[in-house]
Amino acid sequence: MANSSNTYSERRETLLISSGDVAEMIRCLMAKKSPIKIQAGGWSMDPFIRDQDVLTIAPLSRDMIKLGEIVAFKVQKKDKSFRLGMHRVVQVLDRENYLIKGDNTSPDPDGIVPRNQILGKVIKIERNNKTIRLGVSQGGGRARPLVKAQSSGTPDNFHEKIEIRFQAQKIPMISRPTIWTTILEHFKKNEFEKKRHPISFDFDITARCNNDCRHCYINVPPDSPEHIEKELSLSQIERIADEAVSMGTLWCLLSGGEPLLREDFDDIYVMLKRKGLLLSLYTNATLITPHRIQLLKRYPPRDIEITVYGVTKETFGKVTSRPENFNAFKRGLKLLLDNNIPVRLKAMIMRSNIHEFSEIAAFCRRYTKDFFRFDPHLHLRYDGNPERNRRILAERLTPQEIAALDHKDPSRSASLQKDCHIYIRDSSNNENDKRLFCCGLGRNSFSVGFDGMFRLCPSLCAPMCMYDLKNGSLAEAWTTFAPRIMSMTTSDPEIGLKCHRCEIINLCQWCPANAHLESGRLEYRPDYFCEVARARSEALKSRLVSDSE
């Protein structure tokens, strides 16, 4: 009798492993979290990678894949089958999508490859048993664009947003790649997330403003001698900027008040630019003149944000108490747009302008390329002025009105629904009951007031949480003072057991800083915050139910 197993073996067809199968095998191997070596075939990456070179492919980390890196990816061919590719990232579209091309292929790239089809990245190339240095062998010494102007955006902590607590990082209300994200991703190497690094700061260079908005938490009259006296001088601002730069700070948001009111604004602006800081600017646009346009064209800001209070003179005047500034606002905005200076329009929504919400939203969207951001949460005054606080309280919308606004805006509504598990979360997975601050406070940013007061967040105005930079150094504020604030604890069960464990805290305005503005106490739970969060949560739940039906 013939040896049946041999016969069986001989009859069996050779298994053909397609390129797509190899891709799947790599995916499985990468799941084991260790690098593999594979021999390259073909010339599509010549001369950087040659036929028969041995490539080490490592699993992707959580970081963004960088421009210029070579990745192994799975791509669908025209005949619908898959193949394995190992080509270079030539454009980072966002965290999830990368444009990929072979160095030695036709001018056309392979196409946009989503991150979930990228299997790993090439970390080493060996030829004839010798490691080839990346760089020299490839026309090396490259200056690669790190951040491009087109992806204009502002650091997410500059935005009002729903802040995600009890997670590693803050996320913006509408999740999108910003330059800030790109920069953060860029520096997020190894231990960086655990490391504190002051990447950005807000600088309120004056509290004075030529508008007198009903909801404003900071403004004082434009010619207030008392406040002019308190403002930091140009040389004091320069000293703080020098320290910030030496600590590795990259980004500065100039705000106020109205920053353009300062007579030495141009000097401050150019000085900060020349130190290598990226600048964003918040302005009401009424003081934009042709002279200022020349300045902004010569020294471009990363972006400018302008709040639109109303699109009619009547509404604008009702909010700002300065109807006569409406034309100056329109003229300033037109000058910026006509000169292609990057502008983003946003809105504060309150009693005096809610009737115009749709028109304001449409106006902002028309002139803002990416997204429209609006905020119905009105802070109380930094200076606690009771008369002004009464005005702000009268401008606040009801919880139901705020909840309705969430769903009146399509992108906000979509974002809330998409991430509803974050906004309405499982309260049992919280271990931080004792810590007072549960946001990203003090990790990557800080704030400096017009009077030189250092704060870890623009709203954190409790005297014990501020450090006077006029009589001290930024280094001390950041390295010695800030950690003391960050490690503050709470023994108040209202905070530790209720707020911190609340399943809708990510829909709530509550934080110790806002609590302090409301009540003068860091540990306080204002009823209004709870009511707004509950209304938003109910609206979100009912929207999810109605959509699923």
Binding site: G135, G141, A143, H186, P300
Partner: protein, 102 residues
């Protein structure tokens, strides 16, 4: 490539700031007109940083190539091609300008 290319001394533009942040060298343009698009940032790879460090307004291109040949395990022709390619790239972005040769 001519031998005169190697005699050129490059100068860094006054309109950029080079900053080292978290171990990375970042070129930050200050004014409009640096880079292909206005207001771009650049990060340099390891070799780029080695070349950049040597652009001190006194070393010629040839001098820089000599130093890199000591530093790296690659033939002179490759290194020279890479250095010139890099300098051409950042010159085209107005990050450096060619000065007079030695």
């Amino acid at each position: 490539m001519t031998s005169s290319d190697l005699k050129v001394i490059y100068h860094k533009s006054d309109d950029i700031v080079a900053r080292e942040i978290e171990g990375e060298l970042i070129i930050i343009p200050i004014v409009a007109g640096i880079g292909n698009m206005e207001n771009e940032l650049y990060a340099m790879d390891e070799i780029g940083q080695e070349i950049w460090k040597r652009l001190d307004g006194t070393r010629s291109v040839g001098h820089i190539v000599d130093e890199l040949c000591v530093l790296y395990d690659a033939d002179r022709e490759t290194i020279q091609k890479d250095v010139l390619g890099f300098l051409k790239e950042i010159t085209s972005r107005n990050i450096i300008t060619a000065g007079h040769g030695q």
